[in-house]
């Protein structure tokens, strides 16, 4: 299977994406901003199709527009995760706009499918290097903000009181999410970014009780799901993205079941049964 260039490229691209999305996704899930991440991917569709329309590589359109949207979301408010309706409307409009661009471009259906559902087997060497560069940039940024980001995610009011700028952290983080989303879209497409960004991280948070082990597990699961997905696609000739989504869903369900089965029910006082608030 590794005799083919496109397979080696696919595994390399999947590894880069898995590491980036496993780490970024952990914080995305912790902050309850997964829907915002999902929306960023859809904005990416507009960016990619718009880029094709004006004749620049779709990846750049994807990156530019998602980062712009991520920064915009960060500026709009710290609690963007609660603005479901606003995000949903932007998400739908982005897809609609992307559709309009395609209408003018009259693109082939395969290109649209690749954007929406990914095309990991079509990654060339140049794209691979671009992805590596973007991945390093994304993780370097995440590394710089990780500590205040964790603080602001767990205890926003206390973090603010201790001098953390919630808005700055939020803007920088969503920029990192946007880069990760653009990367992820190369593998599984804009519609299925959730599967690598959120699935492994959510499963890891169900299993690990320590921060370090949670982050490692999130990355490990993302890599395992991406590699296995490509291998299964090779053997079955079914779409890679299908296999990755199936593995991601399976891992999350198994992790949830394990967390629920192994944990004793939380000890709760009477007040928890009859909350006064």
């Amino acid at each position: 299977m590794l005799d083919y260039d496109f397979m080696r490229h696919a595994f390399a691209a999947a590894t880069i994406v898995a590491v980036v999305s496993g780490l970024v996704g952990y914080f995305l899930v912790l902050r309850g901003q997964t829907f915002a991440g999902h929306a960023l991917a859809h904005v990416g569709f507009t960016g990619a199709t718009g880029a094709v329309l004006i004749g620049i590589p779709p990846l750049w359109g994807l990156v530019l527009l998602t980062v712009a949207a991520g920064v915009g979301m960060g500026f709009l408010g710290e609690r963007i995760g609660e603005r479901d309706v606003a995000i949903g409307i932007v998400l739908a409009f982005s897809l609609g706009l992307g559709l309009l661009f395609l209408h003018f471009f009259t693109a082939y259906a395969t290109q649209v499918t690749a954007l929406l559902f990914g095309n990991v087997l079509g990654v060339d060497v140049a794209t691979l290097w671009t992805m590596l560069g973007l991945g390093v940039l994304c993780l370097a940024g995440l590394g710089v903000i990780a500590r205040p980001l964790l603080f602001a995610s767990l205890q926003p009011e206390l973090a603010e009181a201790k001098g953390v700028s919630l808005r700055l952290v939020s803007v920088l983080f969503l920029a990192a999410v946007a880069l990760a989303t653009a990367e992820c879209a190369q593998i599984v497409g804009v519609l299925l970014v959730f599967t690598l960004m959120v699935g492994p991280a959510a499963a890891a948070q169900q299993l690990a009780t320590r921060l370090g082990s949670g982050l490692l597990l999130s990355v490990a699961l993302a890599i395992a799901e991406a590699w296995l997905g490509i291998a299964l696609a090779y053997w079955t000739d079914w779409p890679t993205s299908f296999w990755i989504t199936a593995l991601s869903a399976g891992a999350y369900l198994a992790a949830s079941r394990k967390a629920r089965g192994s944990a004793p029910r939380p000890r709760q006082g009477p007040s928890s049964l009859h909350p006064l608030t």
Binding site: E157, K162, V164, A259, P264, P266, G269, S271, T277
Partner: protein, 267 residues
């Protein structure tokens, strides 16, 4: 030394005057309860002390310096959020997330940070429960972890925003006694907001009662009286004592208990 000084302070939040020309001072090792109906400004007052809400008029001094944001000498326990309660993350890692959390970089605690976290957990008796996931802690246990987080950095002033909310009376008493012990052992000032006075009776040095844009400060028997509370609630209030408990009544309506049931308060 004074922990907090409000000199003719007016606080405005989203166009609404929360406190109008309020003056009071709190000593450096006082345990003060902050009471008042919903929207009276208990949270806003704490955010003003933290430097997160600038006064419209007047002067605020904290620990003998002009108020400033990011003051490391203030410990703060915000109203607890339900989101945290479902996490599988261990209590210890949750507390450690706040240790030096304002610095840029990777979230790897330094040796000093780890030591500080251990100290804070020991102070609230949470060393063992810190090993459990947050999802497996009770409301009272989570309050102890939040308290440990507030103690990081050895603050001289603790601001505790509704630590008793949604706890049953037994756990309420535990939290109050723990805070009293910490306050006396560390010799620090504590501002403790609550919906009703009863869980705090016998431990407070003074009470700061907010209402109607005004504030009254003094001993419990000086402040929780019909005339003072009538002014703060803006309606006729009777204070009834029964079996060592205090009931704040408007007609046959129990003000504090009713507030408690309807609270979603972020005022």
């Amino acid at each position: 030394m004074q922990a907090i000084l409000f000199d003719d302070v007016t606080l405005v939040l989203a166009g609404r005057t929360v406190l109008a020309d309020v003056t009071f001072a709190i000593g450096d090792s006082e345990f003060v309860g902050v009471l008042g109906p919903n929207g009276a400004g208990k949270t806003t007052l704490m955010r003003a002390v933290l430097g997160l809400v600038a006064p419209e008029r007047g002067r605020i001094r904290v620990l003998d310096r002009p108020v400033a944001a990011g003051n490391a000498r203030i410990g703060y326990m915000p109203q607890s959020r339900s989101a945290v309660a479902g996490l599988r993350l261990s209590g210890g890692d949750f507390v450690a997330g706040a240790a030096g959390g304002h610095r840029w970089g990777l979230p790897v605690p330094s040796a000093a940070d780890r030591q500080e976290v251990q100290w804070a957990l020991a102070m609230v008796g949470a060393t063992e429960l810190a090993k459990r996931p947050l999802a497996q802690t009770s409301g009272g246990e989570r309050q102890r972890l939040l308290l440990a987080q507030a103690l990081l950095g050895r603050p001289r002033l603790l601001l505790l925003d509704e630590p008793l909310i949604s706890l049953d009376p037994h756990h309420q008493r535990e939290v109050v006694e723990l805070v009293r012990r910490l306050q006396q052992e560390l010799g620090i000032a504590v501002l403790f907001s609550a919906h009703e006075i009863n869980p705090l009776l016998g431990v407070l040095d003074r009470v700061l009662y907010l209402g109607n844009g005004q504030a009254a400060i003094g001993r419990v028997d000086e402040v929780i009286t019909g005339p003072v509370l009538s002014r703060l609630y803006g309606t006729a209030i009777d204070v009834v004592q029964l079996n060592g408990r205090i009931f704040v009544m408007s007609g046959d309506y129990d003000m504090e208990h009713d507030e408690h049931r309807h609270d979603h308060g972020h005022a």
